[in-house]
């Protein structure tokens, strides 16, 4: 049996001590005493003063002041791509867990059923809802609307979205997923990554052919055996994403790809060791910094 013995080590971080002008505040700190500013997320008014309610860095956009915490529950915005898990089937709707403050809703009227977009939803569809999506299924969807209590209404009215079949889901803090134009990436290493804005990330083998994988919004799952090399790529990607998240680095296609390339000198399972994770993240950070400097 292989035994791995390591010393407990405090991870050294070569961080710049100060990060420009960004102001670090903790709950109860006065951000500004000037009454001319608007109150954003993470702040509250105490008389004239604007006071922080979370620990994080102050962001100022014109007259709007907000404080962003390190991690918090996902705050949905319309148009966001999310990954969610169906937890309940109700009358005409599914309840979906999206790591948000409240459960999200997926209405029967905002999904594409087999048979095309124009198809009308009948009584039979309502009865057969569980045959399309049942408890425990993972889906990718888009935020269609936000209800007044803050819960999200989702839709899957595009072929991109729908039920996910074989792959790996990783949960990271939602703040770490960078908002981009595109959240579906076919990486050159042979895997498809869906970066949900809610911090859930889906990794699966890139589909070949016109019908299959994440590209179809179908309700048919492709349960064929995934070959070993592809499974290795998927698990390596998963470990790379966890390494980046562990070092609190932003996640987007380039950073994930660079981490994947930096990890090539290690075995996929070694990427679970803390010092290897730190090194992969460090190499990625250096490469990104180098590119930003150019």
């Amino acid at each position: 049996m292989e035994v791995d013995i390591r010393l407990a080590a405090e991870r050294l971080r070569q961080e710049e001590a100060t990060r420009g002008a960004a102001q670090l505040v903790t709950p109860g700190d006065t951000v500004t005493g000037d009454g001319g500013f608007m109150r954003g997320h993470g702040t509250y008014k105490d008389g004239e003063n604007l006071v922080a309610s979370v620990a994080g860095f102050v962001r100022r956009i014109n007259r709007l002041i907000s404080v962003q915490p390190l991690k918090a529950r996902y705050n949905g915005e319309i148009g966001d791509v999310v990954i969610g898990r169906v937890i309940e089937v109700q009358q005409k709707r599914w309840k979906v867990d999206t790591c948000s403050r409240l459960h999200s809703l997926l209405m029967l009227s905002s999904v594409n059923l087999p048979g095309g977009e124009q198809r009308r939803k009948t009584q039979e569809d309502e009865l057969a809802m569980r045959s399309y999506l049942e408890e425990g299924d993972l889906i990718s969807a888009e935020v269609q609307n936000i209800f007044s209590d803050g819960s999200l209404s989702l839709h899957t009215r595009s072929l991109k979205y729908g039920k996910l079949s074989q792959g790996v889901m990783v949960a990271v803090p939602s703040n770490l997923v960078l908002r981009r134009k595109n959240h579906f990436h076919d990486l050159p290493c042979g895997a498809t990554v869906i970066l949900g804005n809610n911090g859930y990330i889906w990794i699966c083998a890139t589909a070949v052919g016109e019908d299959g994988g994440a590209g179809t919004g179908g309700y048919v799952q492709n349960l064929e055996r995934v070959p070993l090399p592809e499974r290795e790529v998927i698990s390596r990607l998963r470990n790379c994403i966890l390494a980046l998240a562990g070092s609190w680095m932003m996640l987007y296609d380039t950073s994930i790809l660079y981490a994947f390339e930096a990890s090539s000198k290690f075995q996929a399972r070694d990427l679970l060791k803390p010092e290897v994770m730190a090194e992969v993240a460090d190499l990625t950070r250096k490469r990104l910094d180098l590119e930003a400097a150019e």
């Binding site: 971080r13 961080e15 990060r19 960004a22 670090l24 903790t26 709950p27 109860g28 993470g42 509250y44 105490d46 006071v51 309610s53 979370v54 620990a55 994080g56 860095f57 915490p69 390190l70 991690k71 918090a72 529950r73 403050r101 409240l102 459960h103 209590d149 803050g150 819960s151 770490l176 960078l178 609190w248 680095m249 932003m250 987007y252």
Partner: protein, 254 residues
């Protein structure tokens, strides 16, 4: 007739000097000094927020889950409900199974409810309608001031979870011995003197919690409260430094 009576290992309290003539306490502190505080944020990966706090030999773990969808019984349409559970490990006290706080399960329930009241005064609950925030505190080692340590640990865990707070809530215990006010009692002192636990919101100076284990003379109360408030502000300084260190080490700009 059973002649055996359980006696704590510190049964010699009355003869032992809790406060020496030189003004030193049993563990060598001065009257106004806190015990050594060690803390870490984000100790668990799966919880939304977590913290580990040591005050002297009192060690507490706190975890926060939420805000998440509330159970139907707990759901309130306009604000979040806070659900607190206080647990003390069987190995935490002087003798296995015999909890240092005494009273067992009933006491734990009472402290959970007390913690819930304290936290409700500080969490901006109106931001999270229909949600629920679960706070679990687990005492690993009890050496006096457990409740105060739990409040401090819960505050750190809530900050780690990114829950909106009006302010920190910092707690500390205090007592008076031979006309000398003491702060942050350890378990030897707790058994020899009455104990007052106070929680403070440093910004507004409000006291959301004041609990006494025994009676004090009313003349002493004012002085005792002043001392407790100063101690709570000291705790705030220490916790604030830890939070700042935690956040600045993890700052990420893309």
């Amino acid at each position: 007739m059973c002649a055996y009576m359980w006696a704590p290992p510190f049964s010699a309290v009355s003869t032992m000097e809790l406060l020496s003539d030189q003004g030193l306490r049993v563990d060598g502190r001065r009257a106004h000094e806190l015990r050594n505080v060690e803390c870490r944020l984000g100790v668990f990966g799966r919880a939304d927020g977590s913290a580990y706090l040591e005050q002297g030999n009192t060690r507490v773990l706190a975890t926060v889950y939420g805000p998440h969808e509330a159970r139907a019984a707990q759901r309130r349409h306009d604000v979040a409900s806070i659900n607190c559970q206080y647990r003390q490990a069987v190995f935490s006290g002087w003798e296995r199974g015999r909890r240092a706080g005494g009273g067992g399960d009933r006491r734990a329930q009472e402290l959970g409810a007390l913690l819930q009241n304290t936290l409700e005064s500080v969490v901006l609950v109106e931001l999270y309608p229909r949600s629920q925030i679960d706070v679990y505190v687990q005492v690993l080692q009890a050496d006096g001031g457990t409740y105060a340590t739990c409040v401090n640990a819960a505050t750190l865990a809530l900050i780690d979870a990114g829950v909106a707070l009006r302010d920190y809530v910092c707690a500390c215990s205090a007592s008076v011995l031979r006309d000398q006010p003491l702060v942050d009692l350890n378990s030897l002192e707790t058994s020899g003197a009455p104990e007052l636990t106070a929680a403070l919101l440093p910004r507004s100076g409000r006291l959301p919690l004041l609990e006494m284990s025994q009676r004090f003379h009313v003349d002493k109360l004012g002085e005792l409260l002043d001392v407790a408030e100063t101690a709570c502000r000291d705790v705030h300084t220490i916790l604030n430094r830890a939070v700042r260190r935690h956040v600045s080490a993890r700052s990420s700009e893309k």
